[in-house]
């Protein structure tokens, strides 16, 4: 990972020992988390929970990208936002909550959504990306930038009581554009959501990022987890790379 590999202090060992007991983590895994930088695109119902878990787990640096101010309608699911912060910056509110949770974590608050103006720089600063944006254009842009820079991306999505998580490793797996070529015709900006659903997806995304950083387990490479909490159906579907994918496919030879 990009950060310096510093030893853990006694205080850090005391904080993280319960997760360091997980097979494969130990001191080495915790040092990897400490040395890592994770970019979380939007810290709402999904990304807020992903960032919260990553901060708790001791990821060294979190870059949060999210524009706008806290609205009443955010508060049923965006758990990093507070009533006291209504009308003020979302990303600053989120950053403050993460600093309260874990003051060891360096939090970089970017008051912008991912755009062509910042994607190159923000992805470039990161080891792992967790994409939780609601707009498909933002997701496609993040996917393309991760493919271009060869950075792994955890893709998190939800609708109503349904969640989806997959992990993209450019060069090794299918990318988002292999599976989704355009936003669905029925897509709407506003959607039904309970915080418990978006939060579940965010926590799963955080675990994928932790696995990528520490090297334990098997990420959701070329597999899409989908679930419906209405009747607790969980499925994992194998997805394939498209050789003619406009984003990651083989370039056409002249």
């Amino acid at each position: 990972m990009s950060g310096r590999d510093e030893p853990l202090s006694d205080e850090e060992r005391a904080t993280y020992e319960w997760q360091m007991w997980v097979p494969g983590i130990g001191e080495e895994g915790q040092r990897r988390l400490k040395a890592a930088t994770v970019l979380v695109s939007r810290v709402g119902g999904l990304g807020g929970l992903a960032a919260y878990e990553l901060a708790a787990a001791g990821v060294g640096r979190l870059i949060l990208a999210h524009a706008g101010t806290v609205k009443p309608g955010d508060l049923n699911r965006q758990l990093l936002m507070t009533h006291a912060a209504l009308g003020s910056s979302r990303v600053e509110c989120a950053a403050n909550r993460l600093r309260e949770l874990n003051p060891r974590v360096e939090v970089v608050a970017v008051p912008e959504n991912i755009s062509p103006a910042n994607a190159d720089r923000l992805v470039g600063m990161s080891d792992v990306v967790v994409c939780c944006a609601p707009r498909f254009d933002e997701r496609f842009l993040m996917n393309a930038e991760c493919v271009r820079q060869g950075k792994p991306m955890v893709d998190c999505a939800m609708y109503e009581l349904t969640g989806q998580v997959t992990t993209i490793h450019p060069g090794r797996t299918a990318c988002l554009a292999c599976r989704v070529s355009e936003a669905p015709a029925t897509w709407k900006r506003q959607f039904p959501v309970f915080g418990a659903v978006s939060g579940a997806v965010g926590c799963l995304g955080a675990m994928e990022a932790i696995k990528l950083i520490t090297g334990i387990g098997e990420p959701l490479y070329d597999r899409l987890l989908t679930f419906d909490l209405l009747d607790m159906r969980f499925r994992v579907v194998r997805v394939g790379k498209r050789m003619d994918c406009p984003t990651c496919g083989s370039p056409v030879r002249p």
Partner: protein, 93 residues
């Protein structure tokens, strides 16, 4: 012959159910069966799953745990389980 079709996300909402058994006459590729169900049902399910009257390339269809595409000619077998997963996005605004 009979298969089970399971709908996730907006497809469950549009189909009005999570799971249904569909009778079909073989031979039939999975993507064609899903497109046929969407055409017959019409309305929001057709809007969500079809593009140019064929299965939209952005809708993930799997037989068992294997993805099948609109061009995939793998034929259904009696008892297959088909999963229909439209693309969804994030949880912020």
């Amino acid at each position: 012959m009979r298969v089970t079709v399971e709908y996730f996300g907006a497809a469950r909402e549009a189909a009005g159910l999570a799971r249904e058994a569909i009778e079909y006459d073989p031979p039939c590729p999975a993507a064609e069966l899903v497109a046929r169900v969407a055409r017959n049902r019409g309305g929001r399910l057709a809007q969500l799953l079809l593009a140019d009257n064929r299965l939209s390339p952005s809708v993930l269809v799997a037989v068992g745990d294997r993805q099948v595409t609109a061009d995939d000619r793998v034929l259904l077998r009696d008892g297959d389980e088909i999963t229909v997963i439209p693309p969804i996005s994030g949880g912020a605004r």
